[in-house]
Symmetry: C2
Subunit: 190 residues, 2 copies
């Protein structure tokens, strides 16, 4: 059931790095991303897939992890993502991609979760370093990096208290994420 | 299977208007939207639900439908959405909502499809008229209007030819949507 997939689709940041994801799996998930709605049907999003050990390592160095966990610099070797998808916007096809990025990444991540994997959307990265590393031409803008792998951590949803949006990790290494109550989100029912 | 839901989740613009959607159903779908990832976990999105006949009619007047179907002004009475969700951004919680809008709307629409309904994201609307109609305070920005109902049209995915992104409706009133090939979207596999 979809609700179960959605609940299971948490932002995972530690993985069983040795559990590989194949290009063929990634292509299947990206085919689901491809079938998401697109503003003006322009379909401006492009993707770069990274699975090889060496390039994953170089990519990893240019990512920032979990802003609220100030004492944590990201996953250790062995717990790093087994694959990455870099989402780009082809600005020759359209500067405005509306909410296509969120739709596509959600299709991708739900697909990964259904297959027993999981991931995390990373928007804090060294843009110039990544452009150089992948020799990305000027007509492609980097939107986000999606880290993927077999999750090696537990993530729990909590009821938000006093408007505190910061997630935290407890003494058992469980990651807790406060969510606003539905009644706070619905401003009216007419 | 998720891939089937994703394929079935097309942009529907004609509905069996008499087939109602309850507030309780909408709340369930919005609870799935609520559980999507959020940039900095800020969760700035808010929702306004519309199901009543009179307000739906007023809302409908302020929406633009299917830009490429130049001879069509939107669904006739009886084929209009049975419900709407207006997605707003609470700018006191954050000006930047990253791709949260796409993630949330995808969870919402996939939930609707799973329940036998469907919808369409509308980003072309009379902003000032809607703000006035719903008396929306300045701290809430309208992001999009999501039209929902029991689909009364067939939508087919086509392979895009010659980069032509325009969807079309054939003589049998079937709606065709060209999609780019996956190989066009993946720029490299490293």
């Amino acid at each position: 059931m979809l609700a179960d997939l959605i609940k299971k689709n948490r932002s995972y940041r530690r993985f069983h790095e040795s559990k590989k994801i194949t290009i063929s799996q990634l292509r299947k998930w990206l085919d689901n991303a491809r079938l998401g709605a697109s503003g003006r049907n322009a379909q401006t999003l492009k993707y770069l897939i990274v699975t090889s050990d060496e390039i994953r390592e170089q990519l990893f160095k240019n990512l920032a992890w979990a802003g609220y966990l100030t004492n944590w610099n990201g996953p250790e070797k062995g717990e790093r993502p087994a694959a990455y998808v870099i989402m780009l916007n082809d600005n020759t096809l359209g500067e405005n991609y509306f909410c296509d990025d969120g739709i596509a990444v959600q299709n991708l991540l739900l697909s990964a979760v259904e297959a027993g994997f999981g991931g995390c959307i990373i928007r804090a990265f060294n843009n110039e370093a990544l452009r150089k590393l992948f020799n990305i031409p000027p007509h492609l803008d980097i939107i986000q990096v999606i880290a993927l792998g077999k999750p090696k951590e537990e993530v729990q949803i909590e009821n938000m208290k006093n408007g505190n949006i910061k997630y935290w990790r407890d003494e058992n290494e469980v990651h807790h994420v406060p969510k606003r109550d539905l009644n706070e989100l619905i401003i009216d029912e007419l």
